[in-house]
Symmetry: C2
Subunit: 812 residues, 2 copies
């Protein structure tokens, strides 16, 4: 893709020269096809870059390459009505023209020349020039659209371009031909396209290798470097910079600055005389353009070679998390070339090699939020934050991004309860910090701290335990593990130091099956005699309704956890994500929190997965209608771009660490505590999530996510015979397949074929990290006083997370 | 600072207009001083922007503001010899001119006008225009230097500019005056300055608020946005964009794109006619320029207000790591406005408010490496990586930055032993992962894994312990804590679950005192009868010399740790950093590693602090001359810009997790595992560290850091009566002060005054996080079978870390 650092820097000359260099070196035995595509042309048809390339090259071959044969053509596909009139002439009826809905007229205009070389009977090589869209006025495309009509959405333009690109590659007669395609943009890199989007943003989903035609004029060093940086800031790879010689030695500065990054080439001065046919200039430029061609070719081969080698290299040197390397064949490794918003660009080798798009339905472990526009905005902010701050030290210091981020957290997810922000790097460390806070708070509330400070060696006799749910997951560092019930994540094979320092409860769960929400009680509660209306709900809001607090179930003694005589802390989550996408009955959660409050037990909410509208409201606290003392946030907090987590706490928790001695302080920290880039991204993302102007899924009243899942479709799916249960909540869609009989292995296979199918359909998914029964390893019960099964689930679960799409998308 | 998106966009007109708008609204009762500074002028003296401002404004006041008084002056300070000849005229002797060493001549040229307004006797307001450096040819400054001489290093230019800036602010007669200073750059934002550095890089240390004069011409939208992005990519705040109206509606696109980020203003078209005196244009522009002035003023007040409020807000809502909030008065909070390479820009309020530079001698907890140039390069890479990848999911996937980073780690710090890279987020998680690896490796090597897989419940009887050193520190998550000896970081007050699952040894340490390296033996070894040459060393290399392996000390039975009957793992560090900057005798480390090898005990090196030439060689492994099975890296790995860590392991360790079941795999991971931005930064930094072209402190042979500390100075300091010990190694300089008598409290105070002095001298330092005796909290001994004292040090320690400076800098 040929970009210019400004208008009038010679993009079309470079395209033409490249075509001449490439086609000149082709032969009848090794024919070449050269596609030149101009997606957007203004001043059309009196100006037409594709016509220039077509004519100039034909001319050049006639005059300079008498031995070479060439079939050259020029096409114009669509134009605005005023431009179409110019092309098609006066005989076209106005009325007929204006019937076009889009304001764009199909032209199907075509011109062709066949140049017969002396050396060859067969015309092997081919030049195909195309203008896709033309507007009459010689102004910026977005203004031309405004004045002439022909409104063109970005996605349409990309579709047309992709079609041209494919046709150029695969249409008849290309066998054995080397195919080159050059796409020439209009104006400068950040000039607006027809919709007003900047071209560098518009074409980003393709992320084609870039040739930047720089500026050799006075001021051109600056313009060229800035244009280069705008391309880099969109994730483009710039293969070469080429500038015209204006005698100012701009190339020297550019070479020096861009050294080791991108080669800089110098074209001879273009004759100013309008009547000059440029034949001599093309002759003089041949060497440089040949070098450019070589650079492009070797960059392409290098890229391809690297993409091809990646799966093997990855398998050889990576140690992937949660991955049994013995079970990953090389062919299963996904090579990700880039991400644009919610889509991965993935390298595939099937009949041919291609880069294809896959929708990231895992939201990359629920970290992702931004659409392509916010991704670019975050990218610029990341550059800015790195340039302004890099990383600076946090304790006893303050800097803007950290302060802003802390303010936004306390005004947002911490609103109404939290007063302090402790930053760390990931969910697991946020939980470790939360536990330390909770232990201290409890010690302080229950007189233990005072005893300790008096010198009584109380700590030897205290067995602090966490009140938590079976199937919960809070991270993989030892402290976070200890707060989880025994599972395959925590067993001897993983960390022999794990003891499971909790009282783990089996919670009631809720899910949709056969078109309604159903309550599933754990064994311990199954003796309860519940009315049917307490077991089945017509809607999710009924489930969350506070009226249930007064129900028989709520008052049942077996639901009331006996927490009074233990020293425990509660870790709460609405959805047990890694544990199998189980939705805990909100009533149960509320009762637990209330019981803890009654016994002065601090409550921690693990909101690492649930925070920031993941579940439809800003925080799980809002969803449950009760507040924690401490809560942990991460994942989506930075817009899914960089690791950062935060542990929020109330004043009362904070005060348990205050005193006259440093030893009383929370002596926990990480090197990059509150790093400026993470805080910058989070400050941006948090504001973006809650603003209906930037997050189109938020209601304008501002505090709720629109329902993203079509209720009827969800109900249909829930009634499907292969579906065991469905959970939808906010951006989450979880689906459990019905295992056939007790053969979970079969169920597993069943899901795998679904997953493969989804990947073929462009949806990237992974099954949840749950263990499959049938292993020969014994379950691990570290302590006799704990309940719980070793393996949280017996069939793989699938979840589709969809933050931004209005239309849920699910393909069987 | 006024920047242009290109040459010829009207920077000087904007400066002049601003001056007229500001000075017009001043009065004799509220006089204003307006400083206009043009640091670099080419085409001088025939072109002079400062003369243009001076003349145009005088003219404007004469014609248009007859009631206002003004004292206007224009100064030219220095010029190249050809330019100086033009200014000073033919009477100046050639010979005399060429005496100038730098090729730059002091001009001391001065012109002044006094405009007496009708309304005022007193001339209150003042316009001071200055050209600092002039060259004769009207070309880019770096080319003018090449042709005319007058080589000007960036630091000289910045010094001159700062002087002008200060003089403009504080020279006589400013009392009660509002002072404005505008600095106008030359050409576009990325046009080279005299040294060839791009101006946007050159002026970065000041990070002055930017006015960007955009381009209203065809192609100007692109050029303006790109220039804006180049400024953002250097960490500048752009206060406003202003463009001249060329009838193309560029302002609309710019307003739409820059919405919510920066206001865009439109100036009327400038008359093309050269003879036009622009008086009418200035009249027409008054409203817009008044708005610009208002925007600048409110942006300035807003910034100032925010900086002033920050310490209180920070104290109110942050929860700083390792900080007793009760002991941090508001006045102690450091407000960091930005970082440039090794320096913080810090906001201070003393006699007046100012932003001042402080050298970050903590290297922000040893994370920092890059100089200003690499910081900007990393910033661009961060933008690129965020735009290209954001974050993508890691397991079973591969993408370029992760692969490249893993390759570089294995070729570098892992060379000769490691074959796998496991990524995580910080040193603490890297250690947790290393422990899990080591446990499994040990289980596999000693038949425990096989027993377990057969279903024997062996794990209930295994008490895995870590062989580690007293005073070591590996992070604050529970697993990492368990591998540390009891200390104030690990006690009941911090984490009641801590048990100290290790065998903790007291190591011999080494340090410089009284001009020589000395060995200090722990109590358990003090019965050894050592020869003097085994206790004192003339140089560090003697200490590290392998010959010592054959010494009596090495063969002493009490040095040989009895590790054979325990199941333990060794965590090793050369320097006990957080524990008090103690340097462990390398001989002891080697013996420990050898013993572990003999008993098939896996060895972990904690290289989070020591890796990447922090200690003068690429890794501690290289320093000690022995290899680990597992090693952890972090901190400096990303060039100190973003959190990322890596746990490297041998094939044998990796293979202990391979099998046909996922349960055998290492089921550990974090949401942002191997995040693209971190890997991109690390790949860049790792290459940069080892390349003598980019890391000037590396020897050209490439694998050693030059000695950064002047030996004689170090010896002098070590012989100073107040100094107890000094340790220098690589970039590390650690100094322990002699506590007077046993009063460690006094010692603490003593160090504090040193620290305060250093901060006054522009050196930012924190004492190490060691505890001070005299607290009323009892020490914590969790297990009777462990040795070790509760508090690793009794006096504060000071360390100066200096990665890049050739000249060590230490001020008492």
């Amino acid at each position: 893709m040929v970009w210019g650092s400004n208008t009038g820097v010679g993009k079309t000359l470079v395209s033409t020269g490249l075509a001449s260099s490439i086609l000149s070196s082709s032969s009848s035995s090794e024919p070449t096809k050269f596609n030149y595509i101009k997606p957007v042309q203004t001043g059309f048809p009196s100006d037409s870059d594709s016509r220039f390339v077509y004519r100039k090259l034909s001319e050049y071959f006639l005059y300079r390459k008498p031995r070479v044969s060439l079939l050259a053509s020029n096409h114009a596909l669509k134009a605005s009505i005023p431009a179409a009139k110019e092309v098609l002439g006066a005989e076209i009826e106005d009325e007929w023209l204006e019937k076009s809905d889009s304001g764009l007229k199909d032209l199907c205009w075509y011109d062709e020349r066949r140049i017969q070389g002396m050396d060859s009977e067969v015309v092997g090589s081919e030049l195909v020039c195309k203008t896709i869209y033309g507007w009459k006025e010689a102004i910026s495309p977005h203004l031309a659209v405004e004045r002439e009509g022909g409104n063109l959405e970005d996605s349409w333009l990309l579709d047309s371009l992709q079609k041209c690109f494919r046709v150029g590659l695969v249409d008849g007669g290309n066998e054995g031909k080397g195919v080159w395609t050059i796409i020439e943009t209009a104006g400068g890199v950040a000039s607006p396209g027809p919709s007003g989007s900047l071209q560098c943003d518009l074409y980003r989903p393709f992320r084609l290798p870039a040739i930047l035609v720089g500026d050799g004029r006075l001021g051109g060093i600056s313009g060229t470097i800035s244009a280069y940086e705008s391309l880099k800031l969109r994730g483009y790879d710039v293969v070469a910079v080429i500038i015209e010689d204006h005698g100012l030695l701009n190339e020297e500065s550019l070479m020096s600055y861009l050294r080791n990054r991108v080669p800089v080439l110098l074209l001879p001065s273009v004759p100013q005389d309008q009547s000059n046919n440029l034949m001599e200039w093309f002759d003089e430029s041949q060497n440089i353009l040949f070098s450019l061609k070589e650079i492009m070719q070797s960059s392409f081969s290098e890229r391809l070679r690297r993409l091809q080698d990646m799966p093997k290299k990855a398998g050889d040197i990576f140690w992937w998390p949660f991955t049994q390397h013995g079970l990953v064949p090389e062919g299963n490794v996904t090579v990700i070339d880039s991400r644009c918003g919610e889509n991965f660009a993935v390298h595939k080798v099937r009949n041919q090699e291609l880069i294809t798009q896959q929708f990231d339905a895992c939201a990359s472990w629920w970290t992702q939020g931004p659409d392509p526009t916010l991704q670019i905005e975050l990218a610029r902010d990341m550059g800015y934050a790195a340039a302004r701050f890099g990383h600076v030290m946090f304790p006893e210091n303050v800097y803007e991004p950290a302060l802003q981020c802390a303010e936004l957290l306390l005004e947002g997810v911490g609103r109404g309860w939290a007063s302090r922000t402790f930053f760390s790097d990931n969910g697991s460390t946020a939980i470790e910090i939360a536990l330390k806070m909770a232990f201290r708070k409890f010690s302080s509330d229950h007189g233990i701290l005072l005893d300790f400070c008096k010198g009584n060696m109380v700590e030897r006799f205290i067995d602090f335990r966490v009140l938590a749910l079976n199937g919960s997951y809070h991270g993989d560092t030892l402290g976070a593990m200890e707060a989880q019930a025994p599972s395959s994540y925590t067993g001897f094979l993983q960390q022999p130091w794990y003891g499971g320092r909790g009282v783990f409860l089996d919670p009631p769960t809720v899910f949709i099956s056969s078109r309604s929400w159903n309550l599933s009680l754990p064994l311990v509660l199954q003796s309860e005699k519940l009315k049917p209306e307490e077991m089945t709900f017509s809607s999710r809001s009924e489930l969350f309704c506070g009226i249930r607090d007064a129900s028989d179930l709520a008052r049942s003694p077996s639901v009331q956890p006996r927490v009074c005589r233990r020293w425990v802390y509660n870790i709460d989550e609405v959805i047990q994500a890694a544990g199998g996408m189980h939705m805990v009955d909100p009533l149960f959660q509320r009762i637990l929190v209330k019981e803890c409050r009654n016994h002065n037990i601090p409550v921690i909410f693990d909101e690492v997965f649930t925070g920031f509208w993941r579940l439809g409201v800003e925080s799980a606290a809002e969803l449950l209608g009760c507040l924690p003392d401490i809560a942990c946030f991460g994942k989506l907090m930075t817009g899914g771009i960089i690791p950062l987590s935060a542990t929020l706490a109330t004043d009362a928790v904070f005060n348990a660490f205050k005193g006259d001695s440093k030893l009383l302080a929370l002596l926990h920290g990480h090197s990059y505590s509150a790093h400026a880039m993470g805080c910058t991204a989070a400050a941006k993302a948090i504001q973006w999530f809650k603003d209906p102007l930037t997050n189109l899924n938020i209601t304008t009243e501002g505090r709720l996510l629109k329902e993203l899942w079509d209720l009827e479709l969800v109900n249909q799916i829930s009634a499907h015979p292969v579906v065991k249960r469905v959970v939808t909540l906010g951006t989450l869609f979880a689906l459990e397949l019905q295992a056939q009989g007790s053969d979970a292995g079969y169920g597993s296979l069943y899901a795998n074929s679904l997953l493969r199918g989804l990947r073929e359909d462009g949806i990237y998914m992974r099954p949840l990290e749950v263990s499959v029964n049938g292993t020969h390893y014994p379950p691990v019960y570290p302590e006799p006083n704990q309940t719980g099964t070793a393996f949280p689930g017996s069939v793989p679960h699938i979840s589709v997370l969809d933050q931004n799409r209005q239309e849920p998308e699910l393909t069987f």
